[in-house]
Amino acid sequence: MTQWFEPGEIVADVYEVRALLGAGAMGEVYDAHDRALNRRVALKVARPGIAPDYLVREGRALAAIRHPGVVTVHTIGKHRGLAFLVLERVYGLSLERMIDERRGRGERFAVGEALDLLVAIADALSVVHGAGLVHRDVKPGNVMLAPGGRVVLMDFGLVLPHADRAGHRTAAGSLQYMGPEALSGDIVEGAAALLDVYAVGVLAYELLCGIAPFDGGDSREVYRSKVRKPLPPVSRLRPDVPAALGDLVAQLMAPDPQERPQGAEAVLWQLRALRSRVGAGTEARPFSVLIVDDDGDMRRALALYVRAAAPGAEIETIGDGRTAIRAVRRRVPDLLLVDLDLPDINGIEVCMLLRGMRLGDACLIVSISSRATRADVELLQQLGVRSLEKGPALVTQLAEIIERMRPNH
């Protein structure tokens, strides 16, 4: 596979390419360091031969939206004749990977957990639709689960304005999640957003039932399955799912777009209503925090401050780096507070190991130190680790971080 940018290459005098994160039909995405603002970014590059318009379209669409559930665009540019987009570097797991992992372990998403995810996706999508856009590629692989329960809709490469009739005539997206009207080229004017609604339905079915409903086959077979072959109802595969939720999933996947809820906002309200009826907190995993510090006094203080900021949080305290890594392997916490000055492997090494093993992707790591050098802080920033200084301000800063991670608590 050709890599258009090489690790170490400085793109547009600012972005130092670190590694290839992924590649698709349209282009490649790189992990890069923004040397001007000292932050990690994602660089999306259009393959040569692909009309650079698509990156411009994606960039402009993202620039029109400001929402925590939608990846942020920083800028757009050209380097060596290649168009590139600079995006927020979102650390986390894709929903696709999480579904695969659960499937591998024979586990299902609890109803409340699935609803929380669906509410977050519908919320982001309602903002996209509100901006007059249609995502057209909603699928688990384009949903990132970032630290603190943040759910982020990614990859706006196929986005189109709602009103772009000509554009919507071209089938695009992932076969499984594509509405049948996209496959038949029969999208009614003003109904393009219903493609995203359909995709949310397929995703919801997969989350709740643990099976991808239209997996395999060519486009003709998939089309036939979507319009002619009714799926087993959710309630048959998951008797614990409320009937109203099963009905909503069936409506979202209605072959006739006019029978679906008419936009993401309508879906969002229905999902929220269902969420409020499903036992709050009975299935959701409690907010978990791992504190790593070799000083017992610090461990005790930090645990209490976390408890003050997040009542009900599960708090584990550990005195050394090796045990901390084992603990994260066992279970990834939502928040990891790590002292830099640990006796065996130091805090920076812990962060590097966790990021290197991709163990800490789904948690927010905050380093705590009283003597971090500027170089330490910069290195930690590059690892996506926030640095705090031990001292009187720490308590307030910690509480603010926790509040931001748990906005609804």
Partner: protein, 107 residues
């Protein structure tokens, strides 16, 4: 120093602070012992810990004094010269006085 709104957590934080204050004199004595026997790196580590924990428990002045001692000890090579030793002892004296004061005030 706290943001706790739950009285039970507030009480726990107050108890932890009082416990911490109760250990300050012994921490200072241990530091003196490390310095007097020339265990510079151990002394630095102890000062460094106190620097962090004192600040977090709300003993800002003591935390600042521990930070000064930590910084001085960090510059010490294997065998400090007379001037460095004098500076360490001066900073240690200040720290011990503040630890005693904090211990009385914090309980």
């Amino acid at each position: 120093m706290t943001r706790a709104s739950d009285p039970a957590v507030e009480a726990l934080i107050a108890a932890a602070r009082a416990d911490f204050a109760g250990t300050l004199v012994s921490k200072a004595v241990a530091l003196e012992a490390l310095v007097s026997c020339g265990a510079w790196e151990d002394a630095r580590r102890a000062a460094h810990k106190l620097r962090g924990s004192a600040g977090v428990y709300g003993f800002a002045e003591l935390g600042a004094a521990a930070a000064e001692l930590d910084d001085v000890l960090s510059r010490v090579e294997e065998t400090p010269d007379a001037a460095q030793q004098a500076l360490v002892r001066e900073k240690l004296r200040e720290l011990c006085a503040l630890a005693e004061h904090a211990s009385r005030a914090g309980r």
